[in-house]
């Protein structure tokens, strides 16, 4: 079977000493930033992008992927022990996990989260391996029209399923696409919006935007808030193994969470965050009156934690097969591939099978490492929780600064980042989300190229996008998504679902 030979190839790549080392480094870093509130995977991956110049593509991507799913594990630890979600996807875990910790069952909660995540991670890896090839086949049938429509669908999906105001999120996408127009036009060679600044003719580096908005913007926002009171349950963590009753209650939730997460991860805009919210809502509904949700129900930890890990894994599918990032982290992965000279898209699987299957296999290996890192070694992470933010933010600022400088060994990028730090804080204050902006910015050049190629092929006839059935289907799906979300009943539910965010 193809699947087996492909996975065998992947594991061959993943099990080389170098790749194991980078997978481990990624998982370790991911757990670290997951545990530390105030530093997310987007800022971390952006910070590390300059350092991958010296690496081969495969270990570099393996490490970056490890950071993303490692953060899902680490985020739950903070959520359970101090009621502060280390990662946005762990917001719902904090609800019941923290209550369990207060009842002295922190160990059981951590184990449910860790083992559930591991199971979900294994399933997620198999789902990617099974579904990537057929999707890739489909993608080869795509012309520029289909690609353009697919990007429209991807961008719309990304904001429809996310939280916050829809109108503002769509505006942020367009703003991202617009900022991406600061470059040299590929077809005519005209420098656009460069104001005769040579650095701007190559366009703004996406790392600069990611670091300014997600790194510095968030630091300023965090410092502007009054210091929070933290209650850490450090001594109570014993009896890691859940009781038989815990197991019986938790495993169906793990299965449901995994299934839901695998499904939602593939959708544009899906991934870890959406999956965990959806799973919590579902578990709460299914449990009905018998549930003790909000008072320390293990199902409220096991379900969402499995879901967010499954979602984190399967969100690699659209990125790997179509080159379309479904969320901000994947957008950075697309950027990382471009840095390494790999054009993201369906051809990656055939042109770089080592990278493709090695990355997938490394996710399973990484998940195994994470269980070991997170359960027996939990004590180390707990100690880290006591590090105050006033020691953290200077270090984060420093690493971001060095990261930006080393992008091109140019201090112009540093000044641009300072500007985007101000813009990022402005976005925060105005309630505008940064993720859609980054997605739009990354997809901007690709979208323009496909639009112009489509129009060229169709001799300027815009109807080409709706005449071709595949392209029309994608556009209809995008329109339907907006219509459904605008329906009053759905609108209300959407607001309720994200109220805890």
């Amino acid at each position: 079977m193809d699947l087996i030979t492909n996975l065998a190839l992947g594991f061959g790549v993943a099990f080389t000493f170098q790749n194991l080392l980078y997978a481990f480094a990624g998982c370790l870093l991911g757990t670290l930033i997951g545990v530390l509130p105030g530093l997310g995977p987007v800022a971390t991956i952006a910070m590390l992008l300059p350092s991958i110049y010296g690496l081969d593509a495969t270990p570099a991507l393996i490490m970056l992927a490890g950071i993303y799913y490692g953060a899902q594990y680490g985020g739950s630890t903070t959520a359970i022990l101090i009621n502060v979600p280390g990662e946005s996807s762990a917001v719902v875990t904090a609800i019941d996990g923290y209550q369990m910790a207060r009842q002295g069952r922190a160990g059981a909660a951590l184990a449910a989260a860790g083992l559930g995540s591991f199971f979900a991670g294994c399933v997620g890896t198999i789902v990617i391996a099974a579904f990537a090839p057929p999707l890739t086949e489909l993608a080869f049938k795509f012309g520029p029209q289909e690609y353009f429509s697919l990007m429209v669908l991807g961008l719309i999906g990304a904001v429809v399923l996310a939280s916050g105001s829809l109108l503002k999120a769509i505006s942020m996408i367009i703003l991202g696409l617009t900022l991406a127009q600061i470059n040299t036009d590929v077809i005519s060679g005209t420098a656009r919006y460069s104001f005769d600044i040579p650095e701007l003719t190559d366009g703004i580096n996406f790392v600069v935007i990611a670091m300014g908005v997600f790194g510095f913007g968030e630091i300023i926002a965090n410092l502007g808030q009054p210091p929070e009171h933290r209650e850490v349950f450090t001594k109570e963590v014993k009896g890691l193994w859940p009781t038989r009753q815990d197991f019986q209650q938790a495993w169906p939730s793990v299965l449901r969470g995994t299934a839901l997460g695998s499904l939602l991860g593939v959708l544009p805009g899906g991934g870890a965050l959406l999956s965990s919210f959806a799973s919590y809502t579902m578990e709460k509904k299914l449990a009905g009156a018998s549930g003790r949700f909000g008072k320390g129900d293990i199902r409220g930890v096991a379900g969402p934690e499995s879901a967010n890990n499954a979602g984190a894994q399967t969100s690699f599918i659209p990125m790997l097969t179509l080159g379309i990032p479904p969320n901000a982290v994947m957008a950075l992965m697309v950027g990382a591939m471009t840095i390494k000279g790999i054009q993201p898209g369906p051809q990656v699987m055939t042109s770089n099978p080592q990278l493709f299957w090695g990355l997938i296999a490394s996710m399973w290996v990484g998940n195994l490492m994470l269980v070991i890192l997170n359960l027996p070694l939990i004590g180390i992470w707990i100690k880290l929780l006591t590090v105050p933010y006033r020691f953290l933010f200077p270090a984060i600022t420093l690493f971001c600064c060095i990261g930006v400088y080393t992008l091109n060994n140019n201090n112009f990028d540093v000044y641009m980042t300072a500007m985007f730090a101000v813009i990022g804080y402005l976005f925060y204050k105005l309630g505008c989300e940064g993720a859609p902006l980054l997605l739009g910015f990354i997809l901007g050049p690709m979208m323009e190229e496909n639009l112009r190629r489509s129009l060229l092929l169709a001799r300027g006839d815009w109807s080409t996008f709706v005449v071709r059935p595949l392209s029309a289907g994608l556009l209809i799906a995008a329109a339907l998504m907006i219509v459904v979300v605008m329906l009053p009943s759905v609108k209300k539910k959407r607001e309720v679902a994200f109220v805890e965010d």
Partner: protein, 153 residues
């Protein structure tokens, strides 16, 4: 006219300003024809949509009632100014004075952004982070970062 949502009001203004300025900028570039779109074609479409969306957000912020007026709240001037100027100073200093001088300066400046500032802790952190970043970025990842001031070398 009363502003019903302060956040949306200013968001709308922001999107409109950016949209209109990019649209004006786009007129400097060739539009091309429909069948052969030029470099100004896509930017003009995008910025027009952005300006329209901004106008809708602005209109909604003036008409639809929100709870508590959706206030922007106070601006954290101190962290904002300290962090941003620290980044700019870092950018100006690093190529000229090198890592071993720039990093401690950055850490000391940045530390003023927090509520607490204790010289002892800050200096220890500055020393530790300087050595750490040298080990990781220069020794470990062999990135080309100037280490000492240019006039010494």
């Amino acid at each position: 006219m009363k502003i019903k949502s302060e956040k949306d009001f200013w968001s709308g203004i922001m999107f409109m300003v950016v949209g209109i300025s990019f649209a004006v900028g786009a007129t400097n570039y060739s539009m091309g024809t429909g069948a052969r779109p030029g470099p100004g074609y896509f930017p003009l479409i995008l910025s027009t949509i952005l300006a329209i969306l901004g106008a809708i957000i602005l209109f909604k912020s003036l008409t639809i009632e929100t709870e508590g007026g959706d206030r922007i709240g106070s601006i954290a001037w101190r962290p904002l100014l300290v962090i941003v100027s620290a980044i700019v100073i870092f950018g100006a200093m690093l190529p000229r004075l090198g890592l071993f001088i720039t990093v401690p300066v950055l850490i000391v400046i940045v530390s003023f952004a927090g509520d607490e500032f204790k010289w002892r802790g800050v200096l220890i952190a500055a020393a530790a982070l300087t050595v750490f970043s040298w080990l990781i970025f220069v020794v470990g990842l062999s990135l080309t970062i100037p280490l000492w001031p240019t006039f010494i070398q």
